[in-house]
């Protein structure tokens, strides 16, 4: 039987599929992200969050910041695609695209080195 690694051995990365996120409510998504990040994990979302969910993520993150315990999050996504349907009619029809890979981690463990339209480079350190 393979040896089970302990969390102290490295940094855990959770890659969460769009399919898994689709079955959750906005608050469940935020809770899942913050629970993971507060344990020191890096959370990668295949399809990202909607603007409204991003707004609530910032708000809930702020309520959980605590000195010497949790400083907040670092979040990076690719810029929204110019081709995405963000017109009023598009949103009215529910076509707004939120599919953008998103990386979220504890602010004291993840540092963005470089970001452009096609590449996100981050430096992740252990707690």
């Amino acid at each position: 039987m393979a040896e089970v690694k302990q969390p102290g051995d490295g940094v855990r990365i959770d890659l969460i599929s769009g399919e898994r996120m689709a079955g959750l409510t906005g608050m469940e998504k935020i809770r899942m992200i913050l629970d993971g990040v507060r344990e020191g994990n890096i959370v990668i979302l295949e399809e990202g969050l909607s603007p409204d969910e991003e707004s609530k993520l910032i708000e809930v993150t702020m309520t959980e910041i605590s000195p010497d315990e949790f400083n907040g999050i670092e979040i990076e996504t690719y810029p929204r695609s110019e081709a995405a349907d963000t017109s009023f009619l598009g949103r009215l029809m529910g076509k707004e695209s939120t599919k953008k890979l998103t990386v979220i981690g504890p602010a004291n463990q993840i540092e963005t080195l470089h970001k452009d339209e096609t590449l996100i480079q981050t430096l992740v350190s252990r707690k």
Binding site: D52, S55, E59, M62, P67, G72, F88, R91, N108
Partner: protein, 215 residues
């Protein structure tokens, strides 16, 4: 279900716009910490109100504004037309607050912890205002720093998703290294107006645009 919700929300917003032609617009001043939001709010209030009381204190220490502050009935006259708005100066938005950074500004630990706690409450409050209580946004950026940050990208996306009119101000053009073009390149879908709220440079154009966007 998503379609129905979107439809209801869009109809509600369109109806509210349609029947509120005379409604006084509540304009939120948003942006990252230290962009000069309070300096701008104070400049607007001093230029257009009789007593000209400051909206709030200005400081180079981040998160000086930790509560959203509203100033009502600001009457701006442009081209023989009077535009009346309320302005809401909001705390700078961020995804992280580390109290140890305040220690570098000659604060003792208790004060730094208190400031960080108030700052987090202020950011949460600012996000709530954005979702619920503003009719338009003036987004203030420091033209001497990189605008292409995640917080700016997310906030502009959130504002766009709410169909709120947004005017981007490239503030601090008096500083060496300021680049208005860098901001225009980051957000080409919106108009960017250069300004120095501290020096009062180009405020006439800012007032023209406020009247145009929010009048």
């Amino acid at each position: 279900m998503g379609l129905l919700t979107n439809l209801k929300s869009s109809i509600s917003r369109a109806a509210s716009t349609l029947f509120s032609a005379d409604k006084q617009q509540r304009i939120g001043i948003y942006g990252p910490p230290n962009a000069g939001k309070t300096t701008l709010a104070n400049r607007v209030v001093r230029d257009w109100t009789e007593h000209g009381d400051a909206v709030g204190p200005e400081s180079h220490v981040p998160h000086e504004t930790r509560r959203a502050r509203r100033k009502e009935n600001i009457e701006i006259e442009r081209n023989d037309k009077m535009v009346t708005i309320d302005i809401v100066d909001t705390p700078g938005v961020t995804t992280k607050v580390d109290y140890t950074e305040f220690l570098e500004h000659d604060m003792d630990e208790d004060d730094a912890v208190r400031r960080s706690r108030e700052a987090t409450e202020g950011v949460a409050e600012a996000m709530h205002w954005l979702r619920e209580d503003v009719d338009g946004v003036i987004y203030v950026l420091d033209a001497a720093t990189d605008p292409f940050t995640q917080v700016n990208t997310m906030l502009i996306g959130i504002i766009e998703s709410q169909d709120l009119p947004v005017l981007i101000l490239a503030n601090k053009i008096d500083l060496e290294g300021a680049s208005v073009q860098r901001i225009r390149n980051a957000f080409p879908q919106h108009e960017t107006v250069p300004v120095s709220a501290l020096e009062g440079d180009n405020m006439d154009e800012v007032y023209d645009k406020i009247a145009e966007y929010f009048g």
